[in-house]
């Protein structure tokens, strides 16, 4: 019987797995290719082509357009309406980031308790988020009706505060506050939900041991809850900043940028330049500057907030 000798088996080395920077397994980047291709076609390509319009005098319709170099950007530096809109945009952004997130945090702390109605309250506070911003704007436009017998003014009358009646959207000094309040009213529930998710991740043991050590409510919030909420703060601040800098729907629906230019933002200015004034080239220049501005603010912000998370 002839012994059948098997050829010696060459040991096959296990496949080399690429290791990512953070030590995990890096998936082949080509998996992302289809999505990247779609993204390039529907986002990058139109954006790049659109950005080219910023260097022309195109009206937005027809084929006539001439290359004007940086003229649109130079005009932007001397455009009182755009500079006023930039001030309004920054004001709204700061107001929304601070108040919306402050309120969202308070609401989250309020419903992160053992009270029986906490689930109902969560739904109530989150409900405005799922309503269309246009609907919310029309609702509040009704609430802000300047007639003494309508909306908020009627409510003030009913509780004996008739002297506080205002022309909420018609007074140029007050209109921007009214718009900011509406946005905060709608979006505070969104911040609440993110903070709530963060609060759910704070280990109860830490609180219990701190209580044993005699820490009060404020001290526990300051030294345990707040540092561990850092990721939620990052997300909320980022989202509300970008939302504030690009605020458009509520302004157009409630005031159309008025009275005068009192509530114009960079987004409404670029919209009006394109579709009302027929200056698509200049509008694109404003849009380009806004996009770069938002990206720069976001980049700086995320750098700072991430470092805060690491420190926490």
């Amino acid at each position: 019987m002839t012994a059948v000798m098997s050829p010696p088996v060459t040991p096959v080395p296990p496949p080399v797995r690429r290791v990512g920077r953070r030590g995990g397994i890096a998936p082949p980047w080509l998996f992302a290719a289809p999505a990247l291709l779609v993204y390039a076609l529907v986002m990058l390509y139109p954006s790049i082509v659109g950005a080219g319009s910023a260097f022309t005098d195109w009206s937005g319709v027809g084929e006539q357009r001439s290359f004007v170099g940086l003229a649109n950007f130079k005009q932007l530096l001397h455009d009182d309406q755009a500079l006023g809109a930039l001030r309004n945009t920054l004001f709204l952004t700061v107001a929304i980031v601070v108040v919306q997130n402050g309120l969202g945090l308070l609401l989250a702390l309020g419903v992160h308790t053992t009270i029986k109605s906490r689930m109902v309250l969560r739904v109530i506070f989150f409900a405005p988020v799922v309503v269309s911003p246009v609907m919310v704007s029309f609702l509040w436009k009704y609430v802000y009706n300047p007639a003494p017998d309508a909306g908020l003014n009627a409510a003030l009358n009913a509780v004996g505060l008739g002297s506080l009646r205002q022309d909420w959207l018609g007074n140029p000094s007050l209109a921007i506050w009214s718009v900011a309040f509406t946005v905060i009213w709608q979006c505070a529930g969104y911040s609440m939900v993110i903070f709530l998710a963060g609060l759910e991740g704070v280990p109860q043991e830490l609180h219990e041991s701190a209580m044993v050590d005699g820490a009060g409510t404020v001290a526990r919030f300051r030294h345990i809850t707040w540092p561990l909420l850092a990721p939620a703060v990052t997300i909320n601040v980022m989202l509300s900043t970008v939302g504030g800098l690009t605020l458009f729907t509520q302004i157009i629906a409630m005031t159309n940028g008025g009275p005068g230019y009192a509530t114009d933002t960079l987004s409404t200015v670029l919209y009006k330049q394109a579709f009302v004034f027929g200056k698509f080239g200049y509008s694109t220049a404003v849009a380009l500057v806004l996009a770069i501005f938002v990206a720069a603010v976001s980049f700086i912000q995320i750098g700072y907030l991430r470092s805060r998370e690491t420190a926490a």
Binding site: A147, N171, P172
Partner: protein
């Protein structure tokens, strides 16, 4: 099929297939740049203020052409310049759409004609009947680009019952107007409703005043502005704006006009809570519907000065309709426009929207409430709406904004007119 299944698919091949599918899907989504509606329908977007007339003309045309089909929708004035313009920019404009006569707006005949977006209608018979004074509203470079049923006038729409309650009559001079307002105010009736939160409403009082304060003295004011030898700030526009503010300072408007909308102002006059509103005749129907009886509503010219001879009126061609030059159904659209230009259709349309017909064939019926305006039209004392001769689309929105600022106490008459002059001098 089998070969495909059995063939081993490399990673590169898989990605090629997926990428190709994604590209095809995306391109398919971006396509469909049909300039016409589907199913042989003529897609039409009209101005809300012309709804009654356009609908009537379409129904009559369809009754005579059984195979004619259309898809009709309307846009309020504020959305015409945005939604419709976006469609024009995207190349999917409706076959027929609303266009403002003359120049001065991003959706005006001149601006769209310059972009070659409007079909030429010059060979149609009705174009020969356009009065010479109004040709600039219809024609660019000698070619007719829009159809409009006629002239709308701007004046004071008033509630007759409120006037009767206060025992006052329509005034014929500025001083008389102030006296009427004072009397109404003492009776607890708001003299003038003003819904200045709606941007286009802000301009109307100035438009009603400047024919008297500017054009009666300088009929060639627009030419001088175009030549650079006149300015808003150095003209009777300042007088008009001061009068506008005088009405506010004397408490003749409703409270908080900047927070009040056009619809709220309409309701105030219809119900008699307010006695008057400065408006175009094209919206008369809305006031009639808001009043208990249509006969409660009347109209008279706004007297801008104390010299009756100087009290001219604004009377402009109403928003028209044009055929998209890129429409695949342009011939069908042009046939409908030709039908609209017939005398009986012009008259019916004009009657439906309370305007004076474009031309008269002797049978034209003019809404009785417009009769006080007809002598002004006959005597050439009517001035086209001012924006129709402004050189770019920025002056009019600037006018809206500065009036809101004036009413809100955020600027002065000089500051407001300076901004308008700056906007006027910008390139077209």
């Amino acid at each position: 099929m089998a070969s495909v299944i059995e063939r081993p698919v490399s990673r590169r091949r898989l990605l090629q297939l997926m990428g190709g599918a994604a590209a095809v899907g995306t391109l398919a989504a971006c396509g469909g740049k049909s300039s016409g509606g589907g199913g042989g329908q003529l897609k039409i977007i009209g101005a809300g203020s012309q709804e009654a007339g356009l609908r009537k003309a379409l129904e009559e045309y369809k009754a005579k052409n059984a195979d004619f089909d259309y898809n009709l929708s309307f846009s309020p004035a504020d959305q015409l310049q945005t939604a419709l313009r976006a469609q024009l920019a995207a190349g999917n404009a409706p076959d027929l759409h609303a266009v403002y006569p003359g120049n001065g707006s991003a959706m005006s005949m001149v601006q769209l004609s310059k972009a070659n977006l409007l079909a030429d209608l010059s060979d149609q018979a009705w174009t020969q009947k356009i009065p010479s004074g109004f040709k600039g509203a219809f024609q660019q470079d000698g070619k007719t680009r829009i159809f409009s049923p006629g002239t709308s006038v701007l004046g004071v729409i008033y509630n007759k019952k409120a006037f009767a309650t206060a025992g006052v009559q329509p005034p014929t001079t500025w001083s008389e107007l102030l006296t009427v307002c004072e009397t109404l105010k003492k009776k607890g009736i708001v003299p003038l409703a003003l819904g200045a939160q709606t941007p286009w409403v802000t301009q109307l009082i100035n438009y009603a005043l400047v024919p008297g304060t500017v054009y009666a003295k300088q009929p060639d004011f627009d030419d001088k502005m175009a030549a650079g030898s006149a300015t808003f700030a150095g003209s009777g526009w300042a007088d008009a704006m001061n009068k506008y503010l005088e009405l506010q300072k004397r408490g003749f408007f409703n409270d908080n006009p900047n927070g009040t909308t056009y619809e709220q102002a309409t309701s105030m006059v219809g119900t008699g809570k307010a006695a008057m509103v400065v408006q175009v005749s094209a919206v008369l129907q809305a006031y009639r519907e808001a009043a208990p009886s249509p006969d409660d509503i009347g109209m008279f010219p706004l007297p801008a000065t104390d010299n009756v001879a100087d009290n001219w009126i604004p009377g402009g061609i109403v928003v028209g309709i044009a055929v998209s030059a890129k429409s695949k159904k342009a011939d069908q659209g042009r046939k409908f426009i030709e039908f609209c230009g017939r005398p009986d259709v012009v008259n019916a349309w004009a009657e439906a929207v309370a305007c004076v017909p474009l031309y008269s064939d002797g049978e034209a019926k003019v809404d009785p409430v417009l009769k006080p305006f007809l002598p002004f039209l006959a005597d050439n004392k009517a001035v086209p709406f001012m924006d129709q001769r402004w050189p770019n689309a920025e002056v009019q929105p600037t006018h809206f904004a500065v009036v809101q600022e004036l009413l809100g106490g955020k600027t002065t008459v000089d500051g407001a007119l300076k901004k308008m002059d700056e906007a006027y001098r910008k390139r077209a």
